[in-house]
Amino acid sequence: MIADTFDLPAFAVFIALFALVTGMGFLASRWRKPSTLEHLDEWGLGGRSFGTWITWFLVGGDFYTAYTVIAVPALVYASGAFGFFALPYTIIVYPIVFFIMPRLWQIASKGGHVTAADVVHARYGSRKLELAVAFTGVMATMPYIALQLIGMEVVIKALGLNGELPLIAAFLVLAFYTYSSGLRAPALIAFVKDILIYIVVLVAVAIIPLKLGGYEAVFHAADAAFKAKGAGGIVLAPAQYLPYATLALGSALAAFMYLHTLTGIFASKSGDTIRKNAILLPAYTLLLGLIALLGYMAYAAGIKPATNNDVVPLLFHTLFPGWFAGFAMAAIAIGALVPAAVMSIGASNLFTRNVWKAYVNPAVTPAGEAQVAKLASMFVKVGALLVILFMPTQFALDLQLLGGLWILQTFPSLVFGIFTSFFRAPALLAGWAVGIFGGSYIAWTDGLKPLHTLHFDGTAYTVYIGLLALVANVLVAAVGSAVLGTAGSKK
């Protein structure tokens, strides 16, 4: 299982950092020690006590995932300027967070809600709508966990370790300390992960251009490569304007509907904590913009990655000594642990509150809830591991694409109720169904692509399917609510 690319200094640094965070993961159960961990608010939300800095590290650590660090430069390497839609996406997401999330937090905190589906059930009293929101959350997040595993797989391979054993070992360790420490584990590890990533990226964006002749040379090399390929470019083609803008907007609306981001929001200690984070979290976006540029630096460095996902590992191995490459790979692998842990905790919270408590055992105690959630988190992680081991990688990527479309369809049910009492549960459920099934159908018939081309008056408009489905979703929910409004009674 050891390949000829094996590099001892890189491997030693990697193992040392990995051991450090594993120790932290287990010790986290004693960090900010509560009177008991046997309560879902403690295991699943860290006691709803995280202040500005912990929330900044935690949400930054689980929103900007390891997969982002691999996939964004890969997309930029493959398609150029288009891959940068992640930048406007992760800027405009924060005004949305600032506007919506403090109010949502307040509702959740007052009502003792742990999940988005809890909030929806309390607002509308509809078990069906609650289940729809819970089911969508789990379906959208599972492939996201699998993607984190792909990110880890890429860096483990780059260290010269082949075979699946290292990946399985890393993931089992993660599963055990999440089981024992709950949300405190990723919250504590996020400090290490984020600091490592900041160091890696700042060193990379300072040193690499120096070695390659400056940023101007980097952009020139990329421009020349795209012209030679005849595809992509360092600015957008006019036909890409609408796809670029709609992908950015749709992704920004969907981003905080996911389980991992919402869990980070619900775990914070006040609405003002969230507002301050909407101001401070863009620091990570600056980092992401710089990470994206690694895709162009690959051209200037003249490396030839076997697949687009290898761009980042190969760039570090080519331009840096072994120990720093190992440091960078460890940063990415640890970067996968934080979101994977928070995602599995979010999914377990949903299962416990909106399936187990709702249908199996309504009389479950808080301690019983914590126990169910801990076991569920094991199942979720093992499930994601099996998907990666036994399904083609493309399967996880396709599901992740559809997952973004799906999670966006929960936006009206979760958010509209905060601002207006106009909408009715059956109408929201109908809108959700139209969005989910209509959107999936269009994506499926287009060959699982995120974009769909519409024709009006002979002009073609290419837009993000998730946003298209959301428009249909909202229309159905609005018309349905207007019709029911006169007959139905408000809950």
């Binding site: 300027a81 940068f84 406007p88 800027i91 005004p95 600032f98 040379a217 952009f219 957008l236 600056l286």
Partner: protein
């Protein structure tokens, strides 16, 4: 009403043809790139300004 300022980043970043050019460049970065990167601190600043307003409204 300050909250309406939160719409500015949407206008600045979703109106793509406005910034889809290479010149003027800055420190070797084509306009497309430094313009969007510049919106990161700008958007933070706008949000901070709105937050100050919210705090005033909350005060008794």
């Amino acid at each position: 009403m300050r909250a309406l300022l939160l719409l500015l980043p949407f206008v600045g970043l979703l109106w793509v043809p406005f910034f889809n050019v290479t010149e003027p460049s800055l420190f070797g970065f084509p306009f497309f790139y430094w313009y969007q990167l510049a919106w990161v601190p700008l958007s933070s600043l706008i949000t901070w300004y709105v937050w100050i307003g919210v705090k005033k409204d909350d005060a008794p």
